[in-house]
Amino acid sequence: MSADLNSDQPTNAGVAFVASVQNKLRGADRRLQSWFESHGVTVLRYSLAMVFFWFGIVKPFGVSPADPVVEAGIFFLPFEIFFPILGWWEALVGLGLLFKRTVRFAVYLMVFQMLGTMIPLITAPAMTFTSIPFIPSEVGAYIIKNWVLLSGGLVVLAMMEREGKQ
């Protein structure tokens, strides 16, 4: 920067311009953060509730796309009985996530269900992978995304507990 602060030299103007862009970016970053801080977990909670209720409730009514993988992956349980129960279970998780008082119960239910959804990755690799272990099939990719859903559920629980303590 030139020593002459009152100069109209373009170099100075350039520096001021860069600084103002930086300031704007920093401000935007801060505003985004505070918006995410107050609303991020709400988006997360309701999208989890939607996914669980919707994809769960279709199972007992026979319109779920997941039956082949559940049937092949969870071969050790009678499919006819297990599949509708799984569906209602998931729907219950979805409903539970809607209410602050039942979030904890919902997340506990979810942990068991989620660990269960990982089983087909091991028991039915032909269905969940195109090439083990790096190239999942569509079904496999769908199941792997559940890691995010599970940890999302845990985060919702942690935030709710923290809110409850305050």
């Binding site: 801080e37 977990v41 989890l48 994809f55 990719a141 995010v148 859903l149 940890s151 999302g152 942690a158």
Partner: protein
């Protein structure tokens, strides 16, 4: 201390199945409190970098449908672009300074990824509009990924 409250205390400390369950719950909640954000953040990183590499190399099981929606872009160019975008989301989640950037990039990515729900309901739904197909459920899960990234981006600030 009265005998009664003594009895209560020993009951709470006792090693019955109920006390054991409470203990497990307490440890679980402590774990969740300390580590859940980390878990969410790194599972998002893994999913985006991994699936991004698959998309960029044309091995993604799901990107084909998205490419069909953007036919004015050559498919191989589209795959590289979309894949690099996904990888960028994953990498941006690794650094605290770029967490908000990751969330913004992800909003754009999700907007692109959800186009097939509107353009190809025949493929993303088996029973429109209440019964999504596998393609459909896979895409709809992106809502959770978006919420997750927003939560991470709101929780961790760039200073620490």
């Amino acid at each position: 201390m009265s005998l009664e409250s003594d009895g209560e205390a020993s009951y709470a400390r006792g090693d019955g199945p109920l006390a054991f369950a409470r203990d497990v719950e307490r440890q679980f909640l402590a774990f969740v409190e300390d580590h859940s954000i980390k878990l969410l953040r790194y599972s998002l990183v893994v999913v985006f970098v991994w699936f991004g590499i698959l998309t960029a190399t044309g091995m993604s099981p799901t990107a084909g449908l998205v490419a069909e929606a953007f036919q004015f872009v050559p498919a191989d160019v589209f795959f590289v672009g979309l894949g690099v975008w996904e990888i960028a989301v994953g990498l941006a989640l690794l650094f605290r300074r770029t967490l908000r950037l990751a969330a913004v990039l992800l909003v754009g990515y999700a907007a692109v990824a959800m186009v097939p729900l509107v353009l190809f309901p025949g493929e993303t739904f088996s029973y429109f509009p209440y019964g999504p197909s596998f393609e459909g459920v896979y895409i709809l899960k992106d809502w959770v990924l978006l919420g997750g990234a927003m939560t991470v981006a709101g929780t961790l600030d760039s200073s620490t």
